[in-house]
């Protein structure tokens, strides 16, 4: 009977001030959506870092007038280097093939370039990709080397942008969370005010504190949970929309986010939504009802 009473009070409370309840739920949903998105992005960036840095290569381009001896000396030295896991030599023909592939949709450019004009190169896979600087310092003065290009520099830029997105989402999540928090506090105050007579009588006749507070706290928790469900729906919608739009072009670049990953974010969102609401409601009541 008491449970029934509490639950019916929760529903009545949510209906009584339905615009405020909606505002609370929507703010909560956006905040949790951003939080969930940021969490997913964080995971993705981690996955992608592992994947890409594993395959990152340092390319040493040779001068076009390099002679045979210089090239052999360099290759021997590279192969003996403990920092380098693998050395691949790319001659002019291979370089031209790669060039043709890379610019397949620009035939004019491909036709204008002859295999002879492309530099030979060594492609190095490092034991530890972060040791690029050492490789660079060691080989930059070697005979016959034109430039040393490190792919990880490019990756750093890509990941810089991605973690920028992630931080942005997190900041928005926090700002929205503060707004949601204030809305919860306000909603609870309004609810407590509209039930002030009941609360006064309950205090007078000795209803336990939890019994007085439970309907209010649960009201906030229910709103928080609905918000987290909407946040999840928004994440799902984003994945569906992204799969069918221009984002699909990035599919090869960014490892796709699986359904299970999205669903696994839900417990986090629900826990944050429910907990933040509950704590805010409880603290508000402590000040407002002084029970």
């Amino acid at each position: 009977m008491r449970m029934k009473y509490v639950l019916s009070e929760v529903l009545v409370g949510l209906w009584r001030n339905v615009t405020m309840t909606l505002a609370m739920i929507i703010t909560m949903a956006v905040s949790l959506f951003m939080l969930g998105g940021s969490g997913l992005l964080y995971q993705k960036v981690g996955d992608m870092k592992d994947l890409y840095y594993e395959n990152v290569q340092v390319s040493i381009f040779l001068k076009t007038d390099v002679n045979e001896q210089q090239r052999i000396d360099l290759e021997t030295k590279l192969k003996a280097d403990p920092m380098i896991k693998e050395v691949t030599y790319v001659n002019k023909d291979e370089a031209y093939k790669r060039f043709q592939q890379m610019y397949a949709d620009a035939p004019d450019l491909v036709n204008a370039v002859k295999p002879d004009q492309l530099p030979e190169s060594f492609r190095l896979t490092l034991v530890n990709p972060e040791q690029y600087k050492k490789i660079y310092d060691e080989y930059k003065t070697s005979e016959g080397i034109d430039t040393i290009v490190d792919q990880s520099k490019l990756l750093d830029k890509v990941f810089g942008v991605l973690s920028g997105f992630q931080n942005g989402a997190l900041v928005i999540a926090i700002v929205m969370a503060v707004a949601a928090l204030l809305l919860v506090a306000n909603t609870i105050q309004v609810a407590a005010y509209s039930k002030r007579r009941e609360v006064a009588v309950m205090k007078l006749v000795g209803a336990s504190n939890w019994f007085i507070q439970a309907p209010f706290v649960l009201e906030a928790v229910v709103a928080g949970l609905i918000g987290s469900i909407l946040g999840l729906v928004a994440l799902i919608a984003l994945k569906v929309l992204a799969a069918g739009s221009s984002m699909a072009a990035l599919e090869g670049l960014i490892t796709p986010i699986s359904w299970s990953e999205i669903l696994l974010t839900f417990p986090l969102m629900a826990a944050v939504g429910g907990l933040v609401s509950a704590v805010t409601a409880w603290v508000t009541l402590r000040f407002y009802l002084r029970v």
Binding site: A200, L204, V205, G206, A207, N209, F211
Partner: protein
């Protein structure tokens, strides 16, 4: 025992010592601001004294933790000048509400509430809303609510303050009847008529001090 409210220039109750026996009927009288209502608040553990002790039902409640307060309150019934009924509930529901929020089942309420409404003389008016009842009847509902849990003590803070003399006397008869069941009644009032008629123990307070404590007293 002394109680000084924050920001007050003088104590609301200054070195007051009173002992009320089980089953007594006591009036606290005195002009407004004399500290009468503070007595009620101290007994309800709504405020705590700055000095001294408050013992209720043999238990020292002076330093009682606030989370123990709800349970403590169940042994005390309370009636006020402004009735404090819930306007959107009937007489029956108002009384039943007090039972249900302390965990009594609906079945218990169905058995006990009609009984206590009968006792206060509201038989047949259980399903009226407060606005359909007269002031005296509303106060009866409030008394029923205070008494339904069979408290050891009934506190009444100017219960007749909003009622005409005849109705006041009816309420007093009701409180007297409750007192005869063994319930201690502590009533704060400045209704001289009633005090003079009842001839019960009178404690007069002035500026926070007891100036008179008289068995079978009059208003003065």
């Amino acid at each position: 025992m002394t109680k000084t409210y924050p920001k007050a220039s003088r104590p609301s109750l200054d070195n007051v010592s009173v002992s009320i026996e089980k089953g007594e009927f006591v009036f606290f009288i005195g002009p407004s601001g004399s500290g009468k209502s503070t007595i009620i608040k101290l007994l309800l553990h709504e405020v705590t004294p700055n000095k001294g002790r408050v013992v209720v039902n043999g238990k020292d409640v002076t330093s009682m933790r606030s989370w123990k307060r709800p349970h403590f309150r169940r042994s005390i019934g309370c009636v006020f000048q402004d009735f404090r009924l819930l306007p959107n509930r009937t007489a029956y529901e108002n009384v039943a509400f007090a039972l249900e929020v302390i965990g009594k089942t609906k079945a218990v309420a169905r058995r006990v509430v009609p009984e206590v409404l009968e006792l206060v003389g509201l038989g047949g008016k259980e399903h009226r809303y407060p606005h359909e009842l007269s002031g005296g009847e509303q106060q009866r509902v409030a008394v029923a609510r205070a008494f339904v849990n069979r408290p050891l003590i009934l506190l009444a803070d100017e219960p007749t303050g909003n009622l005409d003399p005849d109705t006041s006397i009816e309420i007093m008869r009701l409180l007297d009847r409750i007192n005869r069941t063994g319930t201690t009644v502590v009533m704060v009032t400045h209704d001289s008529n009633i005090v003079n008629q009842m001839r019960r123990r009178v404690i007069e307070i002035e500026s926070g001090r007891i100036v008179r404590d008289q068995a079978r007293g009059v208003y003065g």
